[in-house]
Structures are given as C-alpha cells and as structure tokens.
C-alpha cells in the first residue's frame, strides 16, 4: 500500500490529497510526499447500484476514510456490513478498466 501519495505542506503541515499546487490551508507551494499510514477510519459510505459505463457489476460499495496520519481518501470497500467509524485495512488493487488499461486504486477491508 504505497501507491497513494498525499502532499504534506512543509509550511503548515496540512495534508493535501489529491494533490494541489498550492496548499488548501495556507497556499504555500512546498510539499513533502507522504503515504497513508495506520488503520483507516470509515467517515461515510454508499452502496452504488447504478454504475457508470465500463463497470460490469451490479453494485459496488464506495467510502471515504481517514488514515491515522490525516490522509483522507475515497476507496472501494470490500466490507459486508459497513458502519460509520469502523476500522479498515488498506490495499492497492485493480478498481476499474479505463481505455483498456487496468487502473489500481485504494481498496479497504475490515481491519479485524
């Protein structure tokens, strides 16, 4: 799980993800690249049953999580019964085929 790269502002420490060329908090332009660390906490989720062209599945669970080092990101949930606040373990797996290419993305499963 090292493919998701967030940008920590070297001026104020704010964690920007996805990337910005100026910090969302202080507008500084220098960043340190960091990867998510620790468990992820589920902030919100939705089971999506009307998926776009190119995803051949009936339904798919998506959510937003926050990692222990403040990185917040959307990911695909591989969870039977999600609940807000539950702890999840990240991995980096194929999530979609775009233009014939397999695209990897954040995938989350229950931590225990």
């Amino acid at each position: 799980m090292s493919e998701l790269v967030a940008c920590k502002c070297t001026n104020c420490g704010f964690v920007n993800y996805p990337k910005h060329h100026r910090c969302l908090n202080c507008r500084a332009r220098e960043f340190e690249q960091i990867t998510p660390s620790g468990e992820a906490t589920l902030l919100t989720y939705s089971e999506v049953c009307t998926l776009p062209w190119g995803i051949d599945e009936r339904c798919r669970m998506l959510g937003i999580v926050q990692f222990e080092n403040k990185v917040k990101a959307m990911g695909r949930l591989r969870v039977d019964k999600p609940r807000l606040g539950m702890k999840l373990k990240p991995s980096w797996e194929p999530v979609r085929v775009i233009g014939g290419e397999e695209v990897l993305g954040l995938t989350l499963r229950p931590a225990k």
Binding site: Y45, V48, I55, L62, R76, V95, V103
Partner: protein, 393 residues
C-alpha cells in the same frame, strides 16, 4: 455598472426529444424568448450558451457559434460557457456582466443539453467526468454516489430521514404536474415510493441511501432569456424583471477535502453575495428555484442559502412552508426532480420560471403576489455554485 433587465424568456418542454438536435432545441427556446420580448428585427449583440457536454453526448463542439448561424444572429459575438450542471447559471452571469458593463445592449442567453442521445450508463459516465479523475472517477464514483455519501452524513448529523427525502420528491412531482414544460408528469405517493412492500421495486436503491425517486431524471431540453439594460426595457412589451443580485462561489473538487463535508460552503457564499448585491435578505424572497438534482439538496440548499437554520430545512418541509401556498414556495416548477435536468439548460430554466412567477404568468403553479425570486444552480457536487435574485420593477 448598469442595472440589467430580463425582457424575454422561452423554453421548450423537457423530456426525451429524439427528433430534435441540441442546436434545434436551443434555437426553439431562443425564438420563444425573442418572441416573448417582441424583439422583432432588432439585432442581438451577443449570445452566451450554457452547455456541459455536447462534445461527449452529441459529438459536437462550438455550440454557440452553431446557434447564431442557425438563427441568423450573425455577426453577434458568441461564446459557449461550460460549468458542469451550473453552465446555465454561468452563461446568464456572463450575459448580465456583459450588459452591466455597458459593452453590449441586447444579449441572448440560452442553455441546453441533449443527454438522451446516449444510453443510461454512458450518460452516468459522462456526468461522472466532473468528479476528480484520480481520487474519485477511477472508483466508479458518480454524482449519485456523492449524493449518497453526503446524505448519509446529513442524516446522521441533522436527523433527515428517507421520509423527508420522499416528501421533497412528492411535493416537486405534484408541482411538476402543473408545469407543461416538465419532463415527468406523475403523481407519486409515500406508499408507492417508500412505505409499501412494493416500494423497493418502484423506487430501487441508486446510491444508498439515495433511491431512484431521490434523483432527477436524465433529460433533453433548452431554455433561453433575453437581457438588456433596465432603462431600455420599457421599449419591449413585457414587465421588466431586474437581475437585482447574483453570486458565484467555488469549493474543493472532492467532498473528502471539505473540513465539514455537510457544509455547502459555495452555496452559502454564492447566496450571501446574491442577497448582498440585491440589498435583500432571505426573508424578503417570495419564491425560490433550488437545484434539487437529489432530494437532499433541496433541504440542504434551503438551509445554506439562509432560508432556514441548518438542520431545520426538513422541519420547514414537514410544516408545508415550501409548498406553493406556503411561506417560502420552493421549486413550484417541479424543480429538477420533475421538470428534468438537461445539464446546461437548468440554470436558465430556473430563471425562466422565476420570470414567469414574478410576471404572474405561471398559470396553475403561480405563487400569489410574488415580487422577488431566488435561484440556485449547483455545479459538480457543490464545487461551483451560481445564484440570482430577481425582482419585479
């Protein structure tokens, strides 16, 4: 800056319009607006067209150039304005500024989208290109997904229930029955969409907790309005409706980056700007057209625009305050929910409805005595919002 008036408005019925191209639809709406104003042979100086996705939906670009040619408005200046689902609002804003600056006198603004040319999953994918390419789109996130993620939090924080959402849909479909331009003419009931054993069949999950009847339909359609300086408006036949105020604000591309994802900051700021420039307050508004692409948005926008305190929008709905005969009628047109949501047309259609309301021309859905109206056009998932305050002079 000059005061700007709307002197003519026009629309075509929204829905599935297989026989008409995008430019046909824009032309019909524009001609209706020109005739409504009694424009005659007077030349139009500039044309702004709100459109989000003609390149993807219809394999066509440079739509404004095509429209001026189709209507022989040559050699008018022409620009296509793209701002996602707020393209219509942005096109009007550009037209208003062009007239207010003194550079142009007669400006035509049209908004349109032809979405039914592609199949449903393709339309869903095209609309989803508004999401962040690496942080959202790759996961299959759609606009209903964003609404689902948002609704779950709003329900938890503010006690909004599926019944409240259904009540928005029921109200707006009831209003839509009174609007001959609406895409959907159907009366729906709480039993049919929520409480009966068959409700899950009628009203399946789209993006939990969002169901089918919490979403606007995918529509073809167009709307238009004609602008000029207020002092010139008396030369035309209809009562002048003045653009008293407008606002526009942006927010982060992704929902996850917002400090409080239930805070629609761009809605708050755009509405505040519109009220400040109009020197009015939310309590002064007689009728509002809000961007209910999803039922939760009508409730949340009504709070963030300042009509109700945060967390009290659902209560106002329960009390009937937002009905046509209520204290603040919201979406008498049926809103996006029933009128439909041809993306680039919506912001213009909202203003067209307000003009009809303020002139007293809204027929069976007329809000009695309406003199001041408010519109809110919500782009992306709240990352680019345009609002207007209109006033009858």
């Amino acid at each position: 800056m000059r005061k700007v008036a709307i002197i003519g408005v026009g629309m075509i019925p929204f829905g599935r319009r297989d026989e008409d191209s995008l430019v046909d639809m824009l032309a019909y709406a524009a001609l209706n607006a020109m005739d409504d104003a009694g424009l005659g042979e007077r030349p139009i100086d500039a044309v702004y067209v709100g459109n989000m996705g003609a390149g993807l939906f219809n394999h066509q670009s440079a739509v404004a150039s095509a429209l001026v040619d189709r209507l022989n408005l040559l050699p008018a200046a022409a620009d296509t304005v793209e701002n996602g689902p707020a393209s219509g609002g942005s096109a009007i804003k550009n037209g208003v500024l062009a007239v207010a600056s003194g550079h142009f006198d007669l400006v035509l603004v049209a908004g349109g989208e032809k979405m039914r040319e592609v199949i449903g999953p393709r339309a869903t994918d095209i609309v989803a290109t508004m999401t962040h390419p690496q942080a959202e789109y790759i996961y299959g996130a759609t606009l209903p997904t964003m609404a689902g993620l948002f609704t779950r939090l709003y329900m938890k924080e503010y006690g909004v229930t599926s019944e409240h959402l259904a009540r928005v849909a029921i109200k707006n479909h009831r209003n839509g029955l009174l609007n001959p331009y609406a895409h959907i003419h159907a009366l729906i009931t709480m039993e049919g969409i929520l409480t009966s054993p068959h409700a899950i069949v009628n009203n399946p999950i789209v993006a939990d907790p969002i169901r089918l009847y919490d979403c606007c339909p995918v529509s073809d359609g167009a709307a238009a309005c004609l602008l000029c300086p207020a002092e010139m408006a008396r030369e035309f036949g209809k009562p002048a409706i003045v653009v008293a105020g407008f606002g526009q604000a942006t927010d982060t591309h992704t929902l996850q980056e917002r400090e409080d994802p239930t805070d629609l900051k761009a809605v708050r700021i755009a509405a505040q700007q519109a009220f400040e420039t109009a020197q009015l307050k939310p309590k002064d508004i007689d009728v509002a057209e809000l961007h209910d692409a999803f039922t939760i948005l009508e409730i949340a926008e009504s709070e963030h625009a300042g009509f109700f305190k945060k967390g009290e929008g659902a209560k106002a709905l329960d009390e009937g305050q937002t009905e046509i005969g209520g204290k603040l009628p919201i979406n008498p047109s049926g809103g996006l929910k029933a009128r439909g949501h041809p993306l680039g047309a919506t912001g213009v259609a909202q203003v067209v409805e307000l003009v009809w309301q303020l002139r007293g021309e809204a027929g069976e859905r007329q809000v009695k005595g309406a003199e001041k109206g408010f519109s809110l056009n919500f782009g992306g998932f709240g990352n680019n919002v345009v609002s207007f305050v209109l006033r009858r002079e």
